[in-house]
Every structure is written in C-alpha cells, then in structure tokens.
C-alpha cells in the first residue's frame, strides 16, 4: 500500500478509537467531569499523565533540540522528569487527601481567601492558554505535513476531535482517551528508535545502543559524535556551551515548574486513594522515562547520521530524504562558495527560518531569500526533522512513517485536551461555582463547564491558526510562572501550619511579578540583550527559580509579621498530612 494511504488509515483508525472511547465514557456529573469520579486505576492514571504531559514538543522537537545542543539539552531531560519526584513526594498525596477538584480549590481553602483563589485562577488560565496554543499549532503542522491539507484545515479537524471528547467526556473521557494516546505515542516513538539503534550499533535497545560502538568504527556513539563534530569545528557533543549557573537555574525552573503545572497536578486528583496517588506518580514517571531516555539516544543517532553523510557531500549525490525535507522547508542549503558541495559547521548559515524564492539553483537546490551570515556553514536543518525524517533516513517501511504521524497527533491532542479541561474547570468551578454564583445547580455547573470547554477549544484553535509571533517565546512563561507561583504556595500550604493567607498571597504576587517582568524585559522589551546583561547570568528560561526563591522569602517574612492562620486551617493541614479518611473527602 502507498505510504499516503497508510497514513490516512492509521490516523483515521486512531481517531475512530478516540471517538469511540468518548462515547463510551460520557460524564454525567461534575465529579465525573472534573476528576473522573476519583476512580482511575494508578497504572492507567500513570499512562494518562504521561500522555497529558508529553506534548507535540516532547514527541517531535525534543530529540532534535538535543541533537543540536548536545549536553546543553540535558536541562530538558532532567528538568521534565525530575519534577515528578517533587510531585510524588511533596504534592500529589496531600492534594489527593485534600480531595477537591482543582488547584485554586486548594489555594482558596487552605488560605481561607477568595483573593488567593482568584490569583490562582488567573495563573491557571494564563499558563494553560500559553501552553495550549502551541499544541494546536502542533496538530496543524502534523496534519499539513502528512495529510496534505492546509495548516488551518488541520487545526479545525484537531479542534473538532478534541471538542468532541473533552466536552462530552470531561476528565473521564479524557483519561481513557489519553491512555490510548499514550500507547499509540510510545509505540510510534520506539519503533523507529529501535530500527535506527540496530542500524547504527547493532543493539536493539536505544538506551544501550547509545553507549555502544558504532558498527565498523571501533568508537562509541558519543566518541564518534565528538570526533565528527570536532572535524567540523563544533564544540564537543558531551560538553555543551551554557554556563553552569544557567544550566542549574533552567533545570530547577523546569523541575519545579513541572511540579506546579495545573494540568499535571489535577491528574493526581483522579485516583481512588492517597496510596494510589503516590503509586501513580511512579508509573507516570516510568512511562515518561521510556520516551525521555530514548530521546537522547535518538538524538545522538540522528546527529551521527547527519554528520557522517551530509557535510562535504555533493548536493546532487545526496539521498532522496534530503530533498524531500528541503521541499517541506525544513532543510535549507545556500551554496555560498558555489562549489556544489555542502559545507556544514557551527553557527547559522543565514538569518531566520528558510524563506524560498521559488526558483532552483544550478544544482537543483531551492534558492533562499534569507540574508547570508558571514559563517562558512551553508546548511539549515530544522530541529523537528530528527524525529520526522528518521524513518526515511533509515529507509524504514511506509507504515512506520504513518505511525509517526499518528503518534505526533496523539501527543498534541492529548496535551491539548488536558489543558482545555483545566481551563474549563477553573471557569465553571473556581470562578462560577466558588466565587460568582455559589447557588448554581449541579446541572448548571456541568453545562457551564461544557460551554467553557467549547469556548476554550475555539480560542485555542484561533491561536493555532493565527499564532501570535511570540508562541515559541512564551513557553518559558508557563514553567517560570508555575515555578514562581503555585509550587511554593502549595508546598508551604502542606509543610507549614503557620503559613497564612497574607504570606501566601504576598509570595505569589512577588514571585509572579518578578518572573513576569524579567521574562517580558529580556524577551520582548530588550530582546537583543546578551548573556552578559542577565542577572547573575540567568537566562529568562531559568529565572523562575529565582522567582520561586523570592516567593518563599516574601511569604515567610510576611507570615511572621501577620497573625497565624485560624485553628480550623491548622486542623485542615494536620488532616491532609495523613492518608486515613481520604474516602470521606470524595462526597463533598
């Protein structure tokens, strides 16, 4: 069968599966809609969390980023997994014991304050929208690349699917769909990785192949990468170029941010018991680690393939995948010295992403409009190509390519659905039921949740079709803000009986205001600033760590100067610290 037919078949079959699950798991009550009635098995919840967490960026872009950044890419690997340790030990079991529906629920009740709840709601909505915009764009890109439709049509199809199962099924529908999506995604990621590992090292397990010898060279994969890179003038793959301080701060901000992201936290509200919440954090990280330990191996293999085949090769003799992806706009070659040979080295060949004139050069390459840089390198390779083009580079059969398409869509849709649910819940539950209209009926609240989800899908879709230029820039926001706002407030709410509402609010406001201004200043107001201008050499990606420290400091100082929280709050804290009695909290 032709590859294109296979792609339609795979994507169609997985979509039918998701819709089938949605019909089977319709939510009938707010408890089902918000937290799947707290009846999700820990292993299934682990899978759902994995799918919820691993976005289009994890699936498509991460291996590519690591392939180009080498050691520097480790910040994402450690940052996006280490957060689960914090979640498992500092947050998940206690929030499950607390037993309500949302993060603002906890903040609002623990700090006996509507103002605190509102600050939390605003953060939840902002963080989640930032994140979801990127997902819808991801859906559009996968569609347009594999299904030969425009990005806009792709986004609309994606919106329709997500709308269907998140509005109908709520958390219950999303959970079981995410379980299916995790399976699709991990299978799609592992199959090509195993093939490529076999091809390069003869070892079928990518994590082991990563440390093995490249067949026929007597060198290990990383030695060979360092060697090939050095010949072309790159810094060693295993060394990287970020400063140690910056590595430290970025990793910490990503870890703490991960632990503070509302759509991840809320997944731990869905387990039947506190015990299960802990266990399910373990399974979640196990399922995530399968992909996250494969990604750096895949990155190294892809980079080895690239460095041993493309530099100093003649354009006309390159294999067909090079031209396929050049046609897709993910590769660009500017023959600066007119020798028909591809020079590749450190730096950018030209400014920005490739823009083509529509004409062909004398070797048949697509000519570029971009202004050339003084660097000798002539090649642009997009990050995304490392996963997307791998099956073709490795000459894998058509069904593997179809699998990647289905996997990429699963990754983007599952994350989008989780985020949309969090947005709709904060509107119907935190804003409407808990703040504006406490007398709303269960039916009315459920309807409001569905309407809010519907509106959120449309807004997210619009972000996907007309992406604000800053989408890529604002991902740093989501993690930095979560790290500087929720994480300290929740942790202190559990681990300190003395933390009061004044302290918590002061902490969140200080943390948020600082992190927000730093990112806005260095990303938008003064984007040409270099590392020398950053405070202590901390990049905007890592500043959430400092924001978090400011949050803790401000909260502790203010709490010391104001009155202790009321007796009942201290009892509440004592109660959430022990597992016994978690069942009772369900029927509130």
């Amino acid at each position: 069968m032709a590859t294109q037919t296979l792609i339609y078949l795979f994507v169609g079959a997985t979509f039918a599966l998701y819709i089938g699950i949605a019909l089977w798991t319709r939510a009938g009550s707010t408890s089902e809609y918000y937290v799947a009635s707290k009846g999700v098995h820990p292993v299934l919840n682990g899978m759902a969390t994995g799918a919820d967490w691993m976005s289009a960026a994890s699936f498509i872009s991460m291996a590519g980023i690591i392939a180009f950044a080498g050691y520097d890419g480790s910040v994402y690997l450690m940052g996006w997994t280490g957060g689960y340790v914090l979640l498992a030990m500092c947050l998940a079991p206690y929030l499950r014991k607390f037993g309500k529906f949302t993060v603002p629920d906890f903040i609002g009740e623990r700090y006996y304050s509507k103002a605190a709840r509102l600050v939390a709601v605003v953060c939840v909505i902002f963080i989640s929208f930032t994140y979801v915009a990127g997902q819808m764009r991801g859906v559009g890109i996968v569609f347009s690349r594999y299904l030969e439709v425009s990005i806009e049509t792709g986004v609309v199809i994606g919106m329709a699917i997500v709308f269907f199962y998140s509005v109908l099924g709520g958390m219950k529908g999303i959970t079981y769909t995410q379980v299916a999506q995790y399976c699709v995604m991990i299978f799609a990621y592992m199959v090509p990785a195993i093939y490529v590992s076999m091809m390069i090292t003869g070892n079928p397990i990518p994590q082991l192949g990563f440390g093995s010898e490249v067949s026929g060279t007597g060198q290990s994969v990383v030695e060979r990468l360092n060697g090939l890179g050095a010949e072309l003038g790159f810094t060693a793959y295993t060394d990287g170029s970020k400063s140690m301080t910056d590595m430290f701060f970025i990793t910490m901000a990503l870890m703490v941010g991960t632990a503070g992201l509302p759509h991840v936290i809320v997944r731990f509200f869905t387990t039947p018991t506190v015990r299960d919440a802990r266990k399910s954090a373990g399974y979640a990280l196990l399922f995530i680690a399968i992909l996250y330990t494969t990604a750096p191996a895949l990155a190294a293999f892809a980079r080895t393939n690239l460095l041993s085949s493309v530099p100093n090769a003649s354009y006309q003799e390159l294999p067909s995948w090079f031209k396929t992806w050049e046609n897709a706009g993910l590769i660009g070659w500017m023959d600066k010295n007119n020798d028909g040979i591809i020079q590749y080295g450190p730096g950018a060949a030209f400014a920005g992403k490739p823009e083509f004139t529509g004409e062909r050069g004398e070797n048949g390459e697509r000519l570029l409009k971009n202004p050339a840089t003084p660097a000798e390198t002539e090649l642009y390779v997009d990050n995304d190509i490392m996963v997307l083009a791998n099956p073709e580079i490795a000459n894998l059969p058509g069904w593997v390519i179809a699998l990647i398409a289905a996997g990429g869509l699963a990754a983007a849709l599952s994350t989008a659905a989780g985020l949309l649910l969090v947005i709709s819940t904060s509107i119907s539950h935190d804003l409407l039921k808990s703040t504006l209209r406490p007398n709303i009926s269960e039916k009315g609240e459920l309807l409001a949740a569905r309407l809010a989800a519907g509106v959120a899908v449309v807004v997210a879709g619009l972000f996907g079709i007309y992406p604000p230029g800053f989408v890529a820039q604002v991902v740093a926001f989501a993690f930095g803000l979560a790290a500087a706002s929720f994480f300290p407030a929740i942790v202190m709410g559990i681990f300190s009986k003395k933390m009061n509402k004044e302290g918590a609010i002061a902490g969140m406001v200080v943390g948020l205001a600082f992190t927000f201004s730093y990112i806005v200043y260095f990303k938008f107001i003064n984007p040409t600033a270099t590392a020398a201008d950053w405070w202590f050499g901390i990049s905007p990606e890592g500043i959430g760590t400092l924001g978090m420290l400011f949050n803790f400091a401000a909260a502790v100082i203010v709490a010391k100067l104001t009155s202790a929280p009321p007796e009942r709050i201290q009892h509440l804290v004592e109660d959430i610290r022990v597992p016994r009695g978690a069942g009772a909290a369900i029927d509130h």
């Binding site: 050691y71 440390g211 295993t238 990793t251 373990g282 022990v578 016994r580």
Partner: protein, 88 residues
C-alpha cells in the same frame, strides 16, 4: 502500639519528613550534583562508553528518579501501617 492518635500523627509526620529529605538529597545529587555541578570531574571517568557526568545528565538521573519514587511508595505504605494511618 499505644500512642494516642495525635502522637501517632506527629511521629508519622517526622518519619515522613526524614524519608523525604533523604530522598530529596539523592534527587539533588544525581541531577544537579552529578549532571551539572561536578559534570566535568565525572566526565573524566568512562562508563559503558559514556563520560560519566554526561551519562548522569542524559540517562542516569532519570533512572534514579523512577527508582526513587517506587522506593518512596514502598516506604510510605509501610509507614502508613506502622502508625495505623493507612486508608481502610
């Protein structure tokens, strides 16, 4: 055990904190320690074809994280029962 309910809860919480802080120390050591702060020193050591520091940053820390959570789950389940605070 003849502890009152409050005493049991307090002792439970203390033991829980000790376990948590111990594990957080490991968490910090494998990622920030081995993967970032001491990466250069560790890179001098070869480990199954990798420079050791690089391996911790891209593989080892993640394996330890997973094991740590399951260890924590196992210990906490014991602790819940020891102080009779487990869920019925």
């Amino acid at each position: 055990m003849s502890l009152s309910k409050e005493q049991a809860a307090t002792a439970y919480w203390k033991e829980n904190l000790r376990l948590m802080l111990g594990l957080l120390a490991v968490w910090f050591a494998v990622s920030f320690g081995a993967g970032i702060l001491f990466v250069e020193q560790l890179n001098a050591i070869q480990f199954f074809g990798f420079p050791l520091g690089f391996w911790f940053a891209q593989q080892g820390s993640i394996y330890v994280f997973v094991l740590m959570i399951f260890f924590y789950v196992w210990k906490m389940n014991q602790l819940d029962r020891k102080y009779d605070l487990h869920e019925e």
